[in-house]
């Protein structure tokens, strides 16, 4: 297989998987660029933040940081807390990204929620290069976000059509991936644990602070499960 064909087939396999993310990021990235502009940070700043930090929801939080007295340590701390869930993505991708080669640092750099949900649940089709497939999924998502947020800064105020509710596309993406995992696996302990622990922590800690307690509770329950379940644990969903 020649090089060109290798990349072409990987791109063609990757692109359809990123369509929901294209829709969601086009909308949310645009909204982000617009919000930045409205706060005095033009398209170049949206471009810099999106391309360097690339962290979706944290970037919205960061608008507040950019419009308050200079507090870099607070920014670092908030980024760690808001993005702590990435620790779980890394743990889940250790095996899949093993031996993937030179692109690995880039794949890790841009491992956001949406990219994780695709690279974790989709295998490249027969005959498609793994590294190239994961690269294109990751790169396209990154490209959509950076481009949309820059364009939002440039033209945001000129767009006038009713997009209310369009951001639901990313929620829908996660729900469908959840369903897919559910339909594929036989053991649903982990999936139920994820939903139940998150809802419990959401009720106990409120919308602003429930992610980290949820992660800890999930870890705790899954560790107990490993301890008390005898024998080999089948692939869990």
């Amino acid at each position: 297989m020649n090089q060109r064909h290798k990349y072409q087939s990987a791109f063609l396999a990757a692109f359809p998987n990123t369509l929901p993310i294209l829709t969601g990021f086009a909308f949310l990235g645009f909204a982000y660029g617009l919000l930045m502009s409205a706060n005095g940070y033009g398209p170049i700043w949206s471009f810099l933040m999106s391309s360097i930090a690339f962290c979706g929801s944290m970037q919205f939080v960061a608008v507040t940081l950019l419009t308050s007295p200079f507090a870099p340590l607070q920014a670092l701390y908030m980024a760690l807390m808001v993005n702590a869930r990435h620790l779980f993505y890394g743990l889940s991708m250790l095996e899949k990204y093993k031996g993937i080669g030179k692109v690995k640092p880039f794949l890790i750099y841009v491992l956001c929620d949406e990219t994780f949900s695709i690279v974790n649940s989709k295998e490249p089709p027969e005959g498609v290069d793994r590294a190239a497939f994961y690269f294109f999924v990751s790169f396209l998502d990154y490209f959509y976000w950076v481009t949309a947020s820059t364009l939002g800064g440039l033209f945001g105020s000129a767009i006038q059509f009713n997009t209310k509710g369009l951001d639901f596309v990313l929620t829908a993406l996660f729900i469908v991936i959840f369903l897919e995992q559910w339909m594929e696996g036989k053991n649903h302990f982990s999936a139920v644990t994820g939903i139940a622990c998150s809802i419990i922590c959401l009720m106990l800690f409120g919308t602003g602070n429930f992610i980290i307690p949820s992660m800890l509770l999930i870890l705790f329950v899954l560790s107990l499960y490993r301890k008390f379940r005898k024998g080999d644990i089948p692939s869990c969903t």
């Binding site: 369509l19 360097i52 950019l66 920014a75 908030m78 760690l80 869930r85 509710g165 829908a172 939903i195």
Partner: protein
Amino acid sequence: MYLTPIQALIIIFAIALGTMLTRFLPFLLFPEKKTPPAYITYLGKVLPSAIIGLLVVYCLKGVSFLSFPHGMPEAAAVLSILFLHIWKRNTLLSIAGGTIVYMVMVQFVFI
């Protein structure tokens, strides 16, 4: 701009540093050459579906059942996704269908 360009850049780099620590840490702690402990391998197997569950709850966290519209648009959208996905099992169709139902609900039905 509220901050000076240099200050704004420092904020961007601070956020990037925090974010990248969370993304790179697992790979730095468990490099390819060493076999990770069995517990970590176990977590790598069971965590994905738990996290996707967490992400679903995270996306729906703002839904209030007590005040109007009582989570009705979200419920309608989630049910359409369930129905479409069990019926056709086509990822893009389910996502597009659910999103359109949600948009119709928030723009025309529950205003």
